[in-house]
């Protein structure tokens, strides 16, 4: 296998490229100090940092409900979950830093809107049922996307994903368990769950990215084994996994075209609104501005605290110099 973006190499670089290609072909891991083509490094920086940003921005829609969670058990579960997401962001920034970028710079790119994050988090969370549905559908879709990344060719990313996937699968079950409980509750609770499913179903399907025919990065990423499955394959896997769960829960997925196809051995389903997808990605979603603004405000408001920590560390790094 050869990579398509590398310029025609010569001499030592050709050897390095050949070794890199051989390792990818043999399904071996690339580690930070190994030689890698510039395009591979760039693609990974983009993907890993977008993933880190998604974890951090993803704290907000559910974080909004911690303060008013309706039982102390749910409050603790939700707080622990949102805390896990901050932790995931931290591992992923650390994985990105092994590629020679700086976390402070990545944060700057996020709050200036120069780097993207998962567009799903630009939708609002309107009721407490959204907490359950985000856990079930959004974390469920994230897991489908992320499980194959545990075998990504870049070592630090793959290792971070193993831990993240384990935690995400707990989150998904907790979300589902909340929904089960709510469906056994009052009529109003059941209506809240169905309403949340109606709002989150299509955005969840969009989490797998555009259809394969319109996904410019997929082919190269798969050749480099950064990615393992196409967007459409993962979307299908998610639908097949989710339909029986929805049935057990007693909710209706808002897609009249959803039906089992015996011949394919998969569910058929309708087409997400790709126009809306592009709008949200390009910044015109319901919450884009607010999400970034909140992160930016926290960052700017905290600047004096970070400066204090640096000043203190500088004063005390050269031994005891207390006045």
């Amino acid at each position: 296998m050869t990579t398509q973006t590398a310029p025609a190499p010569s001499g030592a670089e050709a050897d390095q490229q050949a070794e890199f290609d051989a390792r990818i072909a043999a399904d071996q891991r690339i580690e930070p100090r190994d030689w890698m083509p510039e395009g591979y490094r760039r693609t990974l920086v983009r993907q890993v940092s977008q993933h880190a940003h998604s974890e951090i921005i993803g704290m907000q829609p559910e974080g909004d409900w911690i303060a008013s969670a309706p039982s102390l058990r749910r409050k603790a579960i939700l707080l622990a979950k949102v805390q896990d997401e901050a932790g995931h962001g931290l591992y992923l920034y650390a994985a990105a830093e092994t590629l020679g970028v700086d976390r402070a710079d990545l944060t700057q790119r996020l709050i200036e809107g120069r780097q993207k994050y998962s567009s799903i988090f630009n939708y609002p969370s309107l009721t407490f049922a959204d907490v359950g549905v985000i856990g079930w559908l959004v974390d469920g879709a994230a897991i489908c996307n992320q499980v194959p990344l545990c075998r990504s060719s870049f070592g630090p990313y793959a290792r971070a994903m193993v831990r993240i996937c384990k935690e995400e699968s707990f989150h998904q079950r907790q979300g589902y368990e909340l929904l089960m409980r709510m469906m056994e509750g009052t009529e109003a609770q059941r209506a809240m769950v169905q309403d949340a499913v109606d709002r989150w179903w299509w955005p969840s399907l969009m989490m797998f990215g555009p259809p394969d025919a319109d996904s410019p990065n997929t082919r190269q990423s798969m050749a480099w084994r950064i990615k393992r499955d196409t967007n459409d394959e993962l979307r299908q896997k998610f639908v097949d996994m989710t339909v029986p769960q929805a049935r057990k829960l007693g909710v209706t997925l808002p897609d009249p075209e959803l039906a089992w196809n015996d011949e394919r051995g998969h569910y058929d389903f309708g087409e997400p609104d790709w126009v809306e997808f592009k709008q949200v990605i390009s910044g015109a979603g319901p919450k884009n501005a607010e999400r970034i603004q909140r992160r930016r405000a926290a960052h700017e408001k905290g600047a004096w605290v970070r400066e204090a920590a640096t000043a203190y560390a500088d004063k005390h790094s050269a031994g005891r110099t207390t006045a």
């Binding site: 704290m59 309706p70 603790a76 805390q83 407490f128 499980v147 707990f170 926290a298 004096w304």
Partner: protein
């Protein structure tokens, strides 16, 4: 490495607690602890005392939650969420104990969601406005130091539940205090601006410290029976700790604590508590018949 089997696991039936992230600890906070009331102890007194200690933790946790997605650094969001989780855990055990002690059988949520401000027994410092990061750090420094001193003594309580809760909480509180000390040093001895913010936070927080060492009659009675702790017993020790930390942080230690005055322990609160509870209880109160 193959991870594809996770898909199959996800599609399985969701039975059994063993596979949930936080086990069963979230459902029965007092599992395995002897819950019989110690001889001669008034159940109503014990229930009120558990609410005092539980409400301090619950209200403080509710304030700390505001920092999640709003802290100066991601590490601080993780740490403050962790501290809030510890306090929430302490509150849950104590409020569950209150419902056993008063014979009402009320659960933790009945206490958290179905009492009004006048029935909350927390000290004013726990409900005080969140303020800036320096204020959060100084509040945490004072509350964790005082609570650690009280809980260290409470670990020897004749009540097996209080004793178990306190023994577990002591390790948590020692970490909370350590975190607050580290940041007090950085802010006090960081930049001139952070020093100014930290000094302002000390000035804001200090007037609220007197109440932490004021014993109400319930605390006095239970302390005399070896069940509760008279907070006045911790006053000197906490003062020494705080003076030492503030001095190391190049901040002026503001002298003795103000006079002890009982207020929150008897349900008298500042205007800050009602909106805090209103937010916390909003969903639960909108759906009184619901189960979550």
């Amino acid at each position: 490495m193959s991870g594809d089997h996770i898909y199959d696991v996800l599609a399985q039936e969701h039975g059994g607690d063993g596979r949930w992230a936080f086990g069963t600890g979230f459902t029965d906070a007092l599992a395995g602890v002897d819950t019989t009331l110690p001889e001669g102890v008034d159940g109503q007194d014990l229930a009120l005392y558990c609410q005092m200690l539980g409400d301090d933790a619950l209200v403080q946790a509710q304030r700390l939650i505001g920092w999640v997605t709003d802290a100066p650094e991601l590490e601080e969001e993780v740490a403050l969420a962790n501290i809030a989780l510890d306090l929430l855990g302490q509150a849950r055990s104590l409020l569950a104990r209150a419902g056993q002690a008063d014979g009402s059988g009320r659960d933790e949520d009945a206490f958290a969601y179905r009492r009004g401000p006048a029935e909350f027994r927390n000290v004013h410092l726990a409900e005080a406005p969140r303020g800036d990061f320096a204020r959060a750090v100084l509040t945490l420094l004072v509350l964790s130091s005082a609570r650690l001193a009280v809980f260290t003594r409470l670990a020897h309580s004749r009540d097996p539940v209080l004793s178990a809760v306190a023994a577990k909480a002591v390790n948590e509180l020692a970490y909370h205090r350590e975190y607050a000390v580290a940041w007090t040093l950085r802010l006090g001895d960081g930049t001139p601006y952070s020093h100014e913010r930290a000094a302002a936070a000390v000035a804001d927080v200090w007037p609220l410290t007197g109440e932490l060492f004021a014993a109400c009659p319930v605390e006095e009675r239970l302390a005399a029976q070896g069940v509760g702790v008279d907070p006045a017993a911790a006053r000197q020790e906490v003062h020494e700790v705080l003076t030492q930390v503030l001095t190391a942080a190049t901040l002026d230690a503001p002298g003795p604590f103000p006079d002890p005055v009982v207020a929150g322990r008897e349900g008298r609160h500042t205007a800050e508590l009602a909106p805090l509870l209103e937010e916390m209880q909003s969903v639960a109160r909108a759906h009184p018949e619901a189960t979550w």
